[in-house]
């Protein structure tokens, strides 16, 4: 279970002004559940994801997972996966090496990691593109590669930062069901950041809105 306790984070503007971005924020998310996180741009949604992933440190408060305090744990040791808005695929690696990246980092032999990546890509309907460069793929294909890369290491928690915002409306709609099915099959906890109310309600068992630096439960 993911637990956030009294997370506070300030944001320093280039001019020197300081704004409170997150204030005494609390959250409990059991395994297998998806929490939708709503809020306007600049409300601190992405910062919160980065704090959970360990990419940013909170100014105050604690992050716990399964009862263990992981606030000071570096991101590579948390075994979470974060999927970015623009997918952040590595342009110098081909599709299979992008997907195999996390496995290699866990110490798996490259050939084995690649074989696993290829198998994963086949399940994702991308078997024909394993050796393609990522920029040769369409937006929808890139999104699937990013999801495959996030899921292949079987993370304990999946963090999604507006995973559909880079796609057009039609594609977004058709991919959402497939995406949800894959996530549900993996059985992990998911924090899904979006500013689309419809999307939030269709994916999350719990829904929160980030208001004034804190989370307000919507459903």
């Amino acid at each position: 279970m993911l637990e956030l306790q009294a997370i506070t984070k300030h944001w320093r503007a280039p001019g020197g002004a300081v704004r409170v971005l997150l204030k005494d924020l609390n959250l409990q998310l059991p395994q297998g559940q998806t929490a939708s996180l709503l809020g306007p741009s600049g409300s601190g949604k992405s910062t919160l994801l980065k704090i959970i992933a360990g990419l940013e440190a909170p100014d105050a408060g604690r992050v716990l997972f399964d009862g263990q305090d992981i606030t000071a744990l570096p991101p590579e040791q948390r075994k979470f996966a974060l999927m970015f808005q623009d997918f952040a695929l590595f342009p110098h690696l081909d599709v299979q090496d992008n997907v195999a990246f996390g496995l290699v980092e866990q110490g798996q032999r490259r050939a084995l990691a690649r074989a696993q990546a290829v198998a994963m890509l086949q399940r994702f309907g991308l078997g024909a593109h394993t050796r393609a460069k990522v920029w040769q793929l369409s937006g929808g294909e890139q999104q699937r590669v990013a999801l495959a890369r996030a899921l292949i290491t079987a993370p304990r928690l999946l963090l999604l930062d507006e995973p559909f915002s880079a796609l057009d409306a039609d594609l977004r709609h058709s991919l959402r069901a497939e995406f949800l099915a894959r996530i549900t099959a993996s059985g992990m906890a998911v924090v899904w950041v979006t500013h689309d109310e419809v999307e939030a309600r269709s994916v999350g068992q719990q829904g929160f809105r980030l208001v004034g630096g804190g989370l307000v439960r919507e459903w």
Partner: protein, 516 residues
């Protein structure tokens, strides 16, 4: 290596020696010796001419460069990518080689004179043409980058609101590219004002620049004080220019626009004429001097080519490779460290540009004053080479780092990579193309280095550059032919090194490269 010599230069200039060194004209002026260059008509002309020729060059490259850039940015035609690559050529050609190219074309024994053209020797034309050769491409490349950032949506909006193509250019494109043009012109002014090799060979008695005057005062007249005062003024002007440039540059760091204007195939006579015109301008100003060297060297005959096998030449080649190789290693290490260390500290980053502001002549002169006992030592020479070459590595790697999306590193970390592993597996491979590019420019700079070698080296350490200059200084057609052949060889060496390091089409992360 840089700050101390400059401080020493300033100290020399502000001390009392300067006044006496300037000779009788300074007598009775007391503390105002540092104003002397402005009171002496001869030195005043040197300073004013240096600024004037730089300003004239700016005007010419602006008038020629913007239309050429617009054609290259907006039209798609066969060979366009090769034209863009060829725009790099003047950056790679050593100064002295370019100067010889201008002479081979327009000089007293050049192709123009042979064709019966009016003599151009002792006119400012040669120097201005040489300046345009080097700087037209600076402006064109910068303008192309700027034009590619213009928003297609805004241009489309202007057209739907009734603007003609010309009005749309004037009201939408021109304001958008103006900051880039200003920044490029600032660089052009800096390069021309502080230029040495070109002015030394092409300026003659009348149109030499202040850098040449400083060299003459130090090397031939031993008037160190007077030279320091001139150097101080040069430094103030280039410093002001560089400051202005850095202010302009800061405003340019906007991300690439996603709605780029698509290039179109030219249609109709007028559009094809525009393409032909742009290519003709580039041919005349950027390729002709290089072609002239090759042509003149080719017809020079076997006797002239024998210069390549003379022991003097082979020694110069060995020296060139030895000094440049050592300098390249040092410059790469320095440049990498500088770029990585200053990635998050913008104020320090500007320091990498100091060697560009302080011209090679001033660096060499300052070192001469500061370490008189070391002037003929290989380590000092190599350090000076590296100092002049490393900004290319630092600048290239720094912009490479800026271009990396921050979330790639974050993605690697969230996938289980430690900071070092994330650097090694993601940042480093993506930085390599930028590093290679910077090293290529650094290598080309080191191989063609001229000013510092002229100041600091011993006769037995002659490099290909200084050997060319020696041949050029001797009278007779045979020496000119030998200089042409050597220039050909030096150009080939610089080009080969450049291509060896930056082989076209090997950038793994450049979608343009693979799509086209």
């Amino acid at each position: 290596m840089l700050v101390a010599p400059v401080l020493r230069l300033m100290g020399e200039a502000l001390s009392g020696d300067a006044g006496s060194a300037l000779g009788t004209a300074a007598d009775g002026l007391g503390g105002s010796a540092w104003l002397q260059p402005w009171l002496d008509p001869y030195l005043r002309w040197r300073l004013l001419w240096s600024a004037l020729q730089a300003a004239l060059t700016c005007g010419v490259v602006l008038l020629l460069g913007v239309p050429v850039a617009w054609v290259l940015a907006r039209y798609e035609f066969v060979g366009r990518r090769w034209v863009l690559r060829a725009l790099m050529l003047p950056f790679v050609v050593p100064t002295l080689v370019a100067a010889i190219g201008v002479l081979a074309l327009w000089g007293p024994q050049g192709l123009w004179a042979q064709a019966g053209g009016a003599p151009l020797q002792d006119t400012p034309f040669l120097l201005l043409y040489g300046n345009v050769f080097f700087n037209l491409c600076v402006l064109v490349r910068s303008a192309i980058d700027a034009l590619e950032q213009v928003s297609a949506a805004r241009l489309a909006a202007a057209r739907t609101l009734g603007a003609t193509p010309w009005r749309a250019f004037w009201r939408i494109e021109w304001p958008a590219i103006l900051p880039w043009l200003m920044s490029a012109l600032c660089l052009v002014f800096l390069f021309c004002f502080a230029g040495f090799g070109m002015a030394l060979v092409l300026g003659g008695q009348e149109y030499a620049t202040v850098e040449v005057e400083i060299y003459t005062l130090v090397a031939y007249e031993l008037q160190l004080g007077a030279a320091s005062v001139l150097a101080l003024w040069t430094l103030s002007i280039t410093g002001a220019c560089a400051l202005f440039y850095s202010i302009l540059e800061r405003g340019l760091a906007t991300p690439l626009r996603s709605d780029r204007i698509a290039r179109r195939v030219p249609r109709g006579t007028a559009q094809w004429l525009a393409v032909a015109g742009a290519l003709a301008v580039l041919l005349l100003f950027c390729l002709a001097p290089i072609a002239a060297i090759v042509l003149r060297a080719a017809v020079a005959g076997g006797q002239s080519w024998a210069v390549l096998w003379e022991p003097e030449t082979l020694q110069a080649l060995v020296n060139t490779l030895r000094f440049s190789g050592a300098a390249l290693l040092l410059a790469t290490a320095l440049g990498l460290c500088h770029a990585l260390a200053t990635h998050h500290w913008a104020a320090l980053r500007a320091l990498a540009f100091l060697p560009l502001v302080v011209s090679p002549v001033l660096v060499a002169f300052g070192l001469l004053l500061l370490y008189p006992g070391w002037t003929a030592s290989v380590p000092l020479l190599i350090a000076a080479y590296a100092l002049l070459a490393y900004p290319f590595v630092a600048k290239s790697v720094a912009s490479g780092l800026d271009g990396l999306p921050a979330n790639l590193q974050a993605a690697a970390r969230s996938l289980g990579a430690s900071p070092w592993r994330a650097f090694w597996r993601v940042t480093w491979p993506l930085l390599l193309p930028a590093l290679r590019r910077g090293m290529a420019f650094a290598a080309a700079t080191a191989v063609g280095e001229f000013a510092v070698t002229l100041f600091l080296s011993r006769p037995e350490w002659a490099t290909l550059s200084t050997l060319i200059y020696q041949h050029l200084s001797r009278p007779g057609a045979a020496n000119l032919d030998a200089a042409l052949v050597l220039a050909c060889a030096l150009m080939a060496l610089a080009l080969a090194l450049f291509l060896l390091i930056e082989w076209p089409g090997t950038d793994p992360a450049d979608p343009e490269e693979h799509h086209a």
